[in-house]
Amino acid sequence: MDERHEEDCGCQEYNELSRRQFITSAAAGVSAAAVFPAWLPKIVMSKAYASNRDIIVSVFMRGGADGLSVCVPFADANYYTSRSTIAIPQPDASAATKGINLDGFFMFPQAMAGGAAGTGGLIPAFKATDLLVVHATGQLNNSRSHFDAQRYMEVGKPVDPALVTGWLGRHLASIPPLKPDAPLRGLGVASGLQKTLVGAPKTLPIADPTNYSVGGSAATQAQRLAFMQADYAAADEPLHSAALDATNTVNLLKTVNFTAYQPANGAVYAANSAFAKALKSVAVLIKADVGIEAAQVDIGGWDTHSGQDPLAGSMFRTMQDFSNSLAAFYADVIATGYNVTVVAVSEFGRNVRENGSQGTDHGRGTTMLAMGKGIAGGRVLTKNWPGLAREQLEQGQDLKVTVDYRDILAEIVQNRLANPNLSFVFPSWTPTMLGVTR
């Protein structure tokens, strides 16, 4: 629904260039002139703070992404026997739609690799060993309901209806802010707060950060915000905090010049992609160093019951949007040295065998992705590939879940986000560290 927010705010004010960006860029050997881009004309040093912690961008691929198309186990012959019309040809095939070899067993479809040459999309991040693909992963809860599966994945604990806060919300609640005075620590790029973030202090859903205003006359805005302050003072949670955070965030975001933003490294965020637009807004906020430390971004279109067509059709376009947008974010933010980790999950995978509508129905194991300079990437991580032969499948139909997604997230929370409170972030779960961080 977010793609319909089309307007730009035309904010005229400027934000500050941060100490962090200065240090990061200088350390990377960039000349002093290059660290003052035109969109950041006013330099105000922010308060010093310790920051080895990564900012996290959490992506939810809503609808149940077919991991067998996102990262294809082409060397498992049963992949081809299970999918007569929607399989992606092997890397050494003559077909124009052949995949891009990753490690001799798995390949990316062209949609994930920027096309037939296989040099775009997420390939640069993979080759730079900054992108990790985890396969045959997912959650213990075997619900094939989108809504149950998404809920428990976002909450971070299977089938506990009493738990309403999300894992990322509890993460933010259990570490001190990166910047003590930050009015906004987390944002969900959505019209409503995603369950992943529920519970987080100083966190709001903002569908379009470039257009976030209470409108009306500038002359009376302060007085009108004072009304909100008085009127919402006695409101119940979460409205109480939302109103307080909102009044501060309005003031914060109008200092950020989104429209003049120039991505680094020639990165291009597709103008017609809501996902790219969301990532671009997150990139601007990260670089503006306003204290954002977590963002939740969603991408839909993965519920491919019919006409899946990962070679040229519906799922091709979804994967292309996914990978090109993340590739832009990688080039713009991660490759330029910002301490950011991206994770991408989906609620479940899809049946190994295609259905009669050239699609796939709800399944179990799928892929998840982690990307960042602190991620031990450049590989497809599996815990003994469970196989695609009928007898190897869960209930004879689905890729088994061999890696609990919380193992991956917990290691990132501990090692990249510097949060030791894992039992709070993932209650009743003792994670197995698999070496996904450097």
Binding site: L204, R224, F227, E237, P238, G356
Partner: protein, 494 residues
């Protein structure tokens, strides 16, 4: 402006905040360790102390906002009389509104065969704008509230189904919104739009598609914990093979793609049939629909959802059992269930509910009563507010959860200043004459009547008085104050 430290401290989340007896609340369980500053969403928000009138509670739940006229009507009819009035909606004369709808949005009455070649963008706008218009101006307020409820229950996304949605809204949702649930469910199961939305059109005997078979049990009837298994999903999907659409969008049963083998769903076995049965093969599916609507899980699931919509985000077991019993006793009579839910024992102690963006926008229109020359602008505003109609892509419908919508408050404030401004395009013009006729205090009293059904919370009254007296008492000041009344905490709830 940024809040000062003292003000911020006063606004920090507090635990064990002193509560007056009228603001009792239940705690949400949060079994996590540690003493961390979690923002715990509270779905049991006690109503404002000022909301003393049970009749006022009823009007807030049965309508899109307690206007002066609506409160007067309820007062005249009394509690039970007003419920009966709203439930017997066909006896409420709504000719003026329906004539306006027919004139402004003529595509709504056209068949799918005609709409097939119609301008899709126009049709989408006509559906959205007419829905806003009807919710705002219809006298059949409770009916409109239930149209919204069932539109979510049987949610479909315009981007997937397009013009077929017009027939679904008209011939399924609006036709049975206050009818019997089994009729509604069956109409939905014979809706071309639903067949396309949940991939029945792609399902065939050689490889059935499970999408609709799953969602009709999970979302439409039994509920996710209603006692069905993955095997039941697979088997029901076989039963439903052949349920599809033909031509320009008419439901049809196609025996050529039906699976005639034997199937077992929820313990009920359908023996193997034969292609020679032809069109009679649809009866297998009809038998399953009967099984679903008569299932005890369906009674509980529909009762729970209606209770959440009309009464309490967390209904008690007693309430669920009572309303499920009404479902069973009346064959799923929606009116009878509503009558049982909106009773004068439960309403006064029920928590408040947060208005979703559509509800909020419609309420603001009922309260400000603007002259509208076009609804297109408002439709765009609703998009910015986050609830562009018929555009939720997954079949669960727009969420009705506080924690989902509460953070999206700035767009509401922006919208409120937009509609109250003098220059808010020419399409939405709020008349301020009466507010400017007397003193600033009288203006706030009038806002109390128009916006809060005469039960404006004291904190809001004081804050509005401070604002209206904080500058020259003129049209601009009055408009800004109206914008703040719409922005106020109390206006977000019902």
């Amino acid at each position: 402006m940024f809040f000062g430290a003292a003000a911020a401290a006063a606004l920090l989340p507090k635990t064990g905040r002193a509560q007056s007896p009228s603001r009792k609340r239940r705690q949400v369980a949060e079994p996590a360790d540690g003493e961390f500053p979690l923002i715990r969403p509270n779905e049991n928000v006690a109503a404002f102390a000022e909301w003393e009138s049970t009749l006022g509670r009823l009007v807030r739940r049965a309508t899109y906002g307690p206007t002066v006229a609506e409160v007067a009507k309820a007062t005249q009819l009394g509690f039970q009389g007003y419920i009966n009035y709203q439930l017997n909606y066909t006896r409420i004369n709504d000719d003026v509104v329906e004539a306006a709808v027919a004139a402004k949005w003529p595509m709504l009455s056209q068949s799918s065969d005609t709409l097939f070649s119609a301008d899709a963008g126009q049709l989408r706008s006509q559906l959205q704008e007419s829905t806003i218009y009807r919710a705002t101006f219809s006298q059949r307020q409770l009916y409109q509230r239930m149209v919204e409820f069932w539109s979510d229950h049987f949610n479909q996304d315009w981007d997937k189904v397009g013009y077929l949605l017009a027939a679904d809204q008209r011939d399924v949702i609006r036709k049975y919104a206050l009818g019997k649930f089994p009729d509604l469910l069956k109409a939905s199961a014979h809706s071309a739009s639903m067949m396309l939305y949940l991939d029945q059109t792609a399902s065939r005997n050689t490889a059935p598609n499970q999408n609709y078979a799953r969602e009709i049990m999970e979302l439409h009837t039994l509920g996710v914990d209603g006692g069905y298994t993955q095997n039941d999903v697979a088997e029901l999907s076989r039963v439903l093979t052949g349920w599809t659409i033909q031509g320009r969008g008419n439901f049809v049963f196609n025996p050529a793609i039906h699976d005639w083998g034997s199937k077992t769903v929820l313990g009920v076995t359908i023996p193997a049939g034969s292609p020679s049965l032809g069109l009679a093969g649809i009866n297998e599916g009809e038998q399953m629909l009967d099984l679903l609507v008569n299932h005890p899980s369906t009674a509980r699931f529909i009762a729970t959802k209606m209770l959440r919509w009309l009464l309490d985000p967390n209904p008690s077991e007693t309430q669920i059992s009572a309303i499920a019993a009404v479902y069973k006793a009346t064959g799923g009579d929606i009116k009878a269930m509503i009558r049982a839910i909106l009773n004068d024992a439960w309403l006064p102690v029920s928590p408040m509910k947060l208005r979703r963006p559509f509800h909020f926008l419609v309420s603001s229109l009922r309260s400000t009563n603007p002259t509208l020359t076009s609804v297109a602008t408002l439709n765009g505003q609703l998009n910015t507010l986050g609830q562009f109609l018929f555009s939720w892509d997954t079949p669960d419908g727009y969420p009705d959860k506080i924690e989902y919508w509460a953070g999206n408050i700035v767009p509401r404030w922006g919208y409120a200043s937009f509609i109250s401004a003098q220059n808010s395009a020419t399409s939405v013009v709020v008349d301020t004459t009466l507010y400017r006729a007397g003193t600033p205090d009288a203006a706030i009293d009038l806002m109390d009547q128009n916006f809060f059904g005469g039960e404006m919370p004291l904190v809001t009254r004081n804050a509005l008085l401070t604002y209206i007296k904080g500058g020259t008492f003129n049209d601009t000041r009055v408009r800004e104050t109206i914008g703040l009344a719409v922005s106020a905490n109390a206006f977000q709830w019902y």
